[in-house]
């Protein structure tokens, strides 16, 4: 039986998630794994926006901020389960992305970058300043999602990090599945035509504006969910979740791993999340090492780590 590229990607991802714990020396690594997967969800959204539709965003952390604080605030103020906060945040982010998407996406290249950047910074400023609501820069605590008690009720006996790792594994697989389906659908082909040339796509009758907007809204929902899940995983959220650096970090993960592919971007998330933990041995030289690695990867593997390595592998084997 001939498996499609989509199936291969999902199988590879599932195997990685399932087998990685065999190499975990302590349960701390489940925590790293869970953080990687949260970032993985956000960058999967960015693959749809950047990898498929070719649109840059330096402001997606803004949506993560909306997601994170929805998960924190809605259960407190409306006395509902945090899951509803997470869902409400996703809806809110989607609607907001739809509203700002049209004017923002008319911009191109660096102008698009600065407009999205501005959006992210506006969200950050509001979260930082409205201390009565959000707790200000020191952040606020977030109600538990109840995964641990669920695991205990099911008799699994997993600790917090472990249960979150497996939960996030399922979420990311689902997110990747949806993204890959979009990739092979007619809409996905239309999106990818934008990546090559918007003008050409337009002359071929692709409704450029509509497809760009669709990609923007979907990626905003992914970022919002990632923000909610990060807040719920930590039981705590600060405005940094919406910060400019978070946006840049996600964009870097997407590019470093290989922007055109879901697998590459999640690989990039893994690399940039785990790297600082590994670089602790360099002590005060850690920043220099990190900056150097980012530059070297982009100089020598300009299409991103995973695609470049895969090409080497194919050529060699």
């Amino acid at each position: 039986m001939q498996l499609s590229a989509k199936s291969w990607t999902l199988i590879a991802l599932a195997l990685c998630i399932a087998l990685a714990p065999l190499a975990f020396p302590s349960s701390f690594y489940y925590r790293i794994g869970a953080v990687i997967l949260v970032n993985g969800l956000a960058v999967t959204g960015l693959v749809i926006l950047f990898g498929y539709a070719g649109q840059i965003s330096l402001g997606h952390a803004g949506f993560a901020g909306i997601g994170g604080y929805s998960a924190a605030l809605i259960p407190v103020h409306f006395d509902v389960h945090p899951v509803l906060g997470l869902l409400a945040g996703a809806v809110l982010s989607g609607v907001l992305a739809f509203l700002i998407g049209r004017p923002v996406l008319r911009l191109k290249g660096y102008y698009l970058a600065v407009a999205t950047l501005g959006f992210g910074i506006l969200v950050f400023i509001v979260l930082n300043n409205e201390a009565d609501l959000t707790g200000g820069p020191d952040g606020m605590s977030v109600e538990s999602l109840g995964l641990r008690s669920l695991s205990n009720a099911l008799g699994l006996g997993l600790n917090t990090s472990e249960v979150w790792y497996w939960f996030m594994g399922l979420i990311v697989l689902l997110g990747a599945y949806l993204a890959l389906n979009l990739h092979t659908s007619p809409s996905g082909r239309a999106l990818r035509s934008l990546h090559d040339s918007e003008v050409a796509a337009g002359t071929l009758g692709v409704d450029v504006a509509r497809y760009k907007l669709t990609a923007f809204v979907i990626s905003a929902v992914y970022a919002s969910l990632a923000g909610s899940l990060q807040a719920l995983l930590n039981g705590f959220v600060t405005p940094d979740i919406a910060g400019f650096l978070q946006s840049i970090e996600w964009m870097t993960m997407t590019v470093l791993g290989g922007a055109a592919t879901v697998l590459g971007a999640i690989f990039g998330a893994g690399l940039l999340t785990a790297l600082p933990q590994a670089l602790t041995v360099f002590a005060e030289y850690e920043h220099m090492a990190l900056g150097l690695i980012m530059m070297l990867v982009m100089i020598f593997l300009p299409t991103g780590l995973l695609p470049s390595l895969a090409r080497q592998f194919r050529r060699g084997g």
């Binding site: 020191d138 600060t238 910060g243 002590a283 850690e286």
Partner: protein
């Protein structure tokens, strides 16, 4: 980058002489050595490294060597949470000192609570110890106490109406809130309330507005970093005559250097660290503070700051508690910290209890005034 900017340094200050028969006591630490709060984390880490060496040279705790495992959170709460998990689950530390900022402290506290590991924070906000979390302690005075100390001085000068200009970072925002909250108890009115961003370079518009507000009799500036130095320079530039109060956030010689002549006349609540040479010999803190200052300056060739003192107190409170408990069992150490009474530290005299996990009173703050570029005690 946030995660990327998270640095971490394992400072395993292991004495080569330690014999393998001796067990080791692993104390964890998470500090903001880089990032916007690095001027807190930097002296804190330097102090801890110095003290661990000193302790081990003197035989460690009950003959057991102490190993400090330190990570840098870069000021980011999410990173700090990951590192807290690492300390607990990977490094298996028995106690933790650290948390340079309130945001980081509040983010990591649940990890230590869940794993029943005593944790002494070096961050300011009152929310860390109120309500009391059985596993969480702190050494700095609260920002609320800083406000109270300033207000006490205002009362003595007969001033009742102030303008606030606060930094938008965690420290400034939290202290601003406390200053507003506690003002009525001292009969103080907040007539103007302005803020500035952590990287702002000119605050003359905010100061102009405050000075133009009817009835403002003094200006209070909660914040740390370069902001307060710029506020002070701008204040002098505008020729504002009202008394200016800074917070304990800038209690270091660097502030005087950066603010230049404009610093003269500025008052702030600070710890004894800054006025070591002015302390009378019979002051209970005299010997402790002098010894710490001399050791720090000798080792690092830079002036001491109030913040390193927080680390000094946190470290010794923890070490003394482990020694007193005679075990590294979390519950026993936690109780030993709670039982600390009359212990003289750099920041003040600590009297812990199950209800008070900081153990300092207002006397730990000394009202200082900068005169001719030097710290003086306000009588």
């Amino acid at each position: 980058m946030r995660l990327m900017s998270s640095t971490a340094a394992i400072s395993a200050l292991v004495l080569l002489a330690a014999s393998p028969a001796n067990a080791e006591i692993r104390i964890g630490s998470i500090l903001s050595v880089t990032g916007p709060a690095s001027f807190l984390g930097d002296p804190e880490l330097k102090t801890l490294e110095m003290l661990v060496e000193e302790l081990n040279a003197n035989g460690g705790i009950n003959g057991e060597e102490v190993v400090l495992i330190h990570y840098d959170d870069g000021g980011d709460a999410n990173t700090a949470r990951t590192l807290a998990t690492r300390l607990v689950e990977d490094d298996e530390v028995v106690a933790v000192v650290g948390g340079s900022t309130t945001g980081v402290t509040l983010a990591v506290a649940p990890v230590f609570e869940e794993n029943e590991i005593p944790f002494i924070s070096m961050a300011g906000a009152v929310s860390i110890i109120d309500p009391v979390n059985p596993w969480v302690f702190k050494t700095p005075h609260t920002d609320r106490m800083a406000c109270e100390s300033i207000y006490t001085d205002l009362n003595a000068r007969g001033l009742t109406s102030i303008g606030l200009i606060s930094g938008q970072g965690g420290f400034g925002a939290s202290m601003r809130e406390q200053c507003i909250d506690v003002a009525p108890e001292y009969g103080i009115t907040i007539a103007a309330d302005e803020t500035y961003g952590p990287r702002d370079s000119d605050m003359t518009p905010q100061l102009t507005s405050i000075a133009a507000t009817d009835g403002v009799q003094a200006i209070v500036n909660p914040g740390f970093g370069q902001g307060p130095a710029i506020v002070t320079r701008n204040y002098a530039q505008l020729g504002i005559e009202l008394p200016l109060y800074q917070s304990h956030g800038v209690a270091s010689d660097a502030f005087i250097e950066l603010a230049g002549e404009a610093a003269n006349g500025v008052r702030l609540p600070g710890s004894a660290t800054l006025v070591v040479d002015l302390l009378p010999a019979d002051d209970p803190q005299h010997d402790v503070v002098t010894a710490y200052r001399d050791a720090y300056v000798a080792r690092y060739n830079e002036p001491v700051s109030t913040f390193g003192g927080y680390a000094y107190d946190a470290f010794w409170l923890m070490v003394n508690a482990i020694e007193a408990a005679g075990t590294t069992d979390g519950e026993a150490v936690r109780e030993a910290i709670e039982n600390t009474t009359g212990w003289v530290g750099v920041t003040g005299v600590f009297n812990m209890s199950p209800e008070d996990h900081m153990g300092l009173d207002l006397s730990a703050f000394r009202m200082l005034e900068i005169v001719d570029g030097h710290w003086t005690l306000v009588e």
